[in-house]
Symmetry: C2
Subunit: 279 residues, 2 copies
DNA sequence: GGTACACCCTCCTACAATAGGAGAGTCAAG
DNA sequence: CTTGACTCTCCTATTGTAGGAGGGTGTACC
């Protein structure tokens, strides 16, 4: 019989942890003095502690180790737990490798004196909108006109959410871009021949980049977004959306308006499908 | 201005977390109503929150994110933090991959109906011993005789620790194995021509396997230990030690003795050097 | 046989990031 | 003005590990 300190000394498991394993029932001392409460361990407990430590090194939680050591599980259940652990580890490694790539990309951008911008992946909810879709020349004034037309038409039905521009072309096009200007609605309005009423679908995995500044300089940021998607092993799964969080407009929800182009805030959103996450 | 719920809704950062970021100073609301305590956020805070989420996805802790966002660090410091993160991630990935290999090995053993045994890596402390070293035939009775001889010689100086057998051959040898039988000492004794007194050095990284059962069947377990070392990317860094935690002996510390070979408990220890840990 | 000191006990606290709940106050739409 | 949705603070929990306080225990040495 060993006192807890001796047992700790040569198993290299701290006294704190041995007491913890006792409390959670993972490893009870073979004898506890009822007078003093002193724990006494025997060599016979060594294989069990050894297995606990080994399973811990395999990445199992103490709770799962408890299950595994309970002994009342079939070989099939044992295998299932191990398979589960393998899958968890594989997923974790994949996620960490994507992270590593991203950190390296950021370092590379820093080394090249390029601006560091941040992309995040998140869900975007569905949104009822009124919209107008049209082929126009890129960066043209026509876009403003389209937004204004839709806003005027929907009037009080406009929701207090930022307007959205959708790009329906799959590839880059020099002129005649297929765009849709969408204004969020509080409730449906009657469609017309030019103004449609529809619901922008929710997107579970949206790669999002927030850009602050005038529209002329947004291309480098957008490039980063595409780079991010590619490097992360994602594929594009829908039309890009530009969300105007802060923009120049005499109309529209007041809290989204500003006049200084340097204060413009735009969110670039690209729906993606990824290998390592649920759709 | 958005109330916390709205801000949470479209950033997909939970209200709980927004309040948390406020408390730790990571993201203060642009306005807090002094009456109600209500937090109000503005679009201008979106880039910052976005960056926080992006850095979190890169694996940074909130504390480090705080440092990174403080803005008062040079590009060099920024780079250093990223480099650190890269190194941390690389190390983590390597460790997880070793884990994964081990889980897969365990599954393979399970599928082949081989016994699952557990190897752990730990430190072993230095130990003063009296020992006798000799070439003998493997598994011979001579080993017992050597232990008995040393035990008899050291007498009361014997410490209450298990005897150790060291194998000094680097490779497997059919006959004439170079072994050393070591008995732990409480304090030094006089050496003789045949009995040496020395300190078994501490080993920082010892691959250890606990084996329960008679000596005849220990080879498969030992094979696992070698396999484990190889698969983990370690190299052997010293002589193997067998520690007799529970063995048959009429003498020796009482708490290590038993007569039933099925109750024998032996620890196989092999010093290793590994790529991913400090020496 | 006593005393000092190393050891052991329980109970509390902390970490980091996140989540849930209780109880009370606030805002906005009808 | 009521009601229901929202918000506030404060408390608790998670997981594995560690530190400390305050008090009891075992033993080696004198």
């Amino acid at each position: 019989m060993f006192k807890i300190g001796e047992f700790s000394w040569f198993t290299r498991v701290s006294v704190k942890m041995l007491r913890h394993y006792d409390r959670i029932g993972l490893l009870k001392p073979s004898h506890v003095d009822p007078e003093s409460g002193y724990r006494y361990y025997s060599v016979e407990q060594l294989p069990r502690l050894h297995r606990i430590v080994a399973l811990k090194d395999l990445g199992f939680s103490l709770e799962r180790i408890g299950d595994l050591l309970a002994g009342d599980l079939s070989e099939g259940q044992m295998r299932a737990l191990l398979e589960q652990q393998r899958a968890d580890l594989a997923a974790l490694i994949e996620a960490e490798m994507v992270r590593l790539v991203r950190v390296e990309d950021t370092l590379a951008r820093l080394a090249d004196d390029l601006p560091v911008v941040d992309v995040v992946l998140r869900r975007v909810e569905a949104q009822l909108v009124a919209s107008m879709r049209q082929r126009i020349d890129p960066f043209s004034e026509a876009i403003s006109a389209m937004f204004v037309a839709v806003e005027q038409y929907v009037g009080a039905a406009q929701a207090d959410r930022p307007p959205v521009l959708l790009y329906h072309d799959v590839e880059f096009i020099e002129e005649g871009v297929d765009v849709e200007t969408a204004i969020p609605l509080k409730h449906p309005v009657e469609p017309t021949r030019r103004i449609h009423v529809r619901t922008l679908p929710a997107v579970d995995q949206m790669a999002v980049l927030v850009y602050t500044g005038p529209y002329e300089h947004m291309m480098p940021a957008l490039t980063v977004l595409y780079h991010w998607i590619e490097r992360g092993g994602y594929r594009i799964a829908g039309p890009q959306r530009d969300v105007y969080l802060r923009y120049n407009g005499s109309r529209g929800p007041a809290r989204h308006l500003t006049t200084n182009p340097d204060d413009y805030i735009t969110e670039f959103q690209i729906p993606v499908k990824g290998p390592n996450h649920a759709l």
